[in-house]
């Protein structure tokens, strides 16, 4: 899943990126309002994480702009202000959730995962099954036949994305967009390589639809 993180504090931004990336999420960073708006309009994100206090303005402006442009992905607002009034302001601008600073990174991860799940399919729970495979999105854990299957963060990201969209053919570009960050080489065969790794670990659960992409059928 691909996330845009708009946070002006480099240390906080890098820490969040390091933590979420280790859990299989792809993070693009923006450090001010302008670049946040630019990236949000030019890429297809599964979630936006936006800090309110940005050097060139209020982070909530990005939320309003995104909603005006019909960008419907979930938005999580980070704020140093956690009074009711500030929270209401966030929701009024179109945010879906908020997290007050300082926060526990695990809480951030849980909120992120929950928002992404709800964005994709509101009925999916944090722990869900695809065929004989159980996926715990909070722990980024994949269990098959009672045993945990160790996946790299990228492998987990691809598998989770396909599992959240069962019976839907996902093309390579979509996978590159949602499971990799902005530094991906669009012309490499990295998707095929990772799908092969996944097949070796999970069996033939991911099917190839020739000329179209990949699908997990249920």
């Amino acid at each position: 899943m691909r996330i845009l993180l708009v946070e002006d504090d480099e240390i906080i931004s890098e820490n969040i990126k390091a933590f979420l990336s280790s859990k299989g999420l792809s993070i693009d960073q923006a450090f001010d309002k302008k670049s946040g708006i630019d990236k949000c309009f030019s890429e297809d994100y599964d979630l936006l994480i936006i800090d309110r206090g940005l050097p060139d303005g209020e982070g909530l402006d990005i939320v309003s702009e995104a909603r005006k442009e019909s960008i419907n992905c979930p938005i999580l607002v980070l704020t140093a202000r956690n009074q009711d009034q500030d929270i209401i302001e966030g929701f009024d601008h179109g945010a879906d959730d908020y997290l007050s600073k300082p926060f526990d990174l695990h809480v951030l991860l849980a909120r992120v995962k929950s928002l992404i799940r709800r964005g994709v399919n509101p009925t999916i729970k944090a722990v869900f099954k695809v065929n004989d495979i159980t996926i715990n999105t909070n722990l980024s854990q994949v269990i098959r036949n009672g045993n945990e299957v160790k996946l790299s963060p990228r492998e987990y990201a691809i598998f989770e994305y396909l599992a959240l969209h069962p019976n839907k053919v996902i093309d390579r570009t979509t996978l590159l967009t949602h499971a990799w960050d902005e530094n991906v080489d669009l012309f490499s065969n990295t998707v095929d390589v990772h799908i092969n790794y996944l097949r070796k670990k999970l069996g033939n659960v991911i099917k190839t639809i020739r000329g179209k992409g990949y699908v997990i059928t249920q």
Binding site: D9, I11, I12, N15, I16, A18, F19, G53, A80, R81, N82, Q83, D84, Q85, I88, E89, S100, K101, P102, F103, D104, L105, H106
Partner: protein, 383 residues
């Protein structure tokens, strides 16, 4: 008042400011409008009086039998009525409305002040000027004059007043919002480094030996709580109602027990805590009080010392008493709790306890007998 507070607490900050600016500017505009109209009224009255006084002078000069036709012309041209009476208040001459007035009314008019406006039955309001037994009067025209002035005031003066009053009220609103904005900025300034530290500690936790893990975890949990405490403290110091939304009914007994469970077993605790004492307050403020009192009681205790803690229900809420021996503690240790003037540095914690107690009107009693320090904090009687 309570209802108003309840209602105001539901309005957003922007709404409150709009209300504030709107109320102040409307009040200023209304007041200015009333004052302006009054000013116009009095200046018009003064103008009428002066004009009548001049005319009275001219009428007095003409009030001679040989100039009677000149007088009649003058009265007609100036739309004036005339009434002359002698020392016995008997009618000598009358002109205009005075011709139609009965003798009783005329008699009453002889007692009129030098300048007066009077309502005359069937004729309306008249401005009268009386001097040397000669009274002239003309139809009161102040309303017509005022109507004109009112128009000019509404078109020209009121927008200016309104504009100025908006500027004034925006200035007042800025003063009002200043502590809120300061509190927000302070909150941001404090929470950003806290977030940096917390997130860095969390990333590090996987790479440290097991015995350090627990310590790091405790530290970052404490830092996370500190974030909440920042808001509560700022709320208290900025007296900001928008920051007071953390107030809830909390179980004081349970909160105190949580703190007592964390005290190291090296010190003897004698605690008598009444169960389920509830109180409506910001939980973080109670945590700050408990933590500082207990940690100071431990820090400044004697070797093999003790802490006696008693929490009991009282009519107004609750009363907390703490007692502990203090071997080498400075005599003025708790003075910062009770005395505003003494600012000895005993750490920020006790000053915070004092400020919280003052802001909540808690009663604080401190005593020191034979190096046994006792503190009693009780909720206010009128609560």
């Amino acid at each position: 008042m309570l209802l108003l507070n309840k209602y105001l607490s539901k309005i957003s900050l922007a709404g409150k400011l709009t209300l504030l600016v709107g109320s102040i500017s409307s009040f200023i505009t209304f007041l200015s409008f009333v004052l302006f109209i009054q000013l116009i009224f009095y200046s018009t009255e003064l103008q009428i009086k002066n004009t009548l006084s001049l005319k009275h002078q001219e009428v007095t000069d003409l009030a001679k039998p040989e100039k009677s036709s000149e007088l009649a012309n003058y009265l007609r041209l100036n739309d004036l009525s005339l009434f002359i009476f002698d020392e016995n208040n008997e009618v000598v001459a009358r002109y205009g409305i005075y011709r139609n007035l009965d003798s009783e009314t005329l008699k009453s008019l002889t007692k009129a002040k030098e300048y007066e406006d009077r309502m005359i039955l069937d004729y309306g309001e008249y401005d009268m000027y009386t001097k040397n037994n000669i009274q002239i009067s003309s139809k009161n025209t102040i309303l017509y004059i005022l109507k004109g002035s009112l128009g000019k005031t509404i078109i020209i003066i009121l927008p200016i007043i309104w504009f100025v009053s908006i500027a004034v009220s925006v200035f007042v609103a800025k003063i009002f919002i200043s502590p809120i904005m300061k509190a927000r900025n302070i909150s941001h300034e404090l929470k950003t480094p806290l977030t940096r530290i917390v997130s860095t500690l969390q990333l590090l936790i996987d790479d440290v030996p097991f015995n350090l893990k627990e310590k790091i975890k405790n530290s970052y949990e404490e830092l996370l709580n500190l974030g909440d405490h920042v808001d509560s403290i700022l709320s208290m110091y900025s007296a900001n109602k928008t920051y007071s939304d953390k107030i809830s009914i909390i179980n004081i007994s349970r909160e105190l027990n949580i703190f007592l469970n964390d005290i190291p077993k090296t010190i003897t605790i004698n605690a008598k805590i009444e169960k389920d004492i509830s109180y409506k307050i910001d939980k973080n403020l109670i945590h700050i009080i408990f933590r500082n009192l207990i940690s100071n009681a431990i820090k400044y205790n004697t070797k093999n010392g003790y802490i006696k803690i008693k929490l009991k229900k009282i009519k107004s809420g609750w009363e907390l008493s703490m007692e502990n021996p203090t071997g080498n503690r400075n005599e003025t240790f708790y003075s910062s709790l009770g005395n505003e003037d003494k600012k000895e540095s005993h750490g920020l914690g006790m000053t915070l306890v004092k400020d919280i107690c003052h802001s909540k009107n808690f009663d604080i009693q401190i005593s020191n007998t034979n190096n046994i320090y006792k503190i009693k904090i009780a909720t206010p009687q009128n609560k």
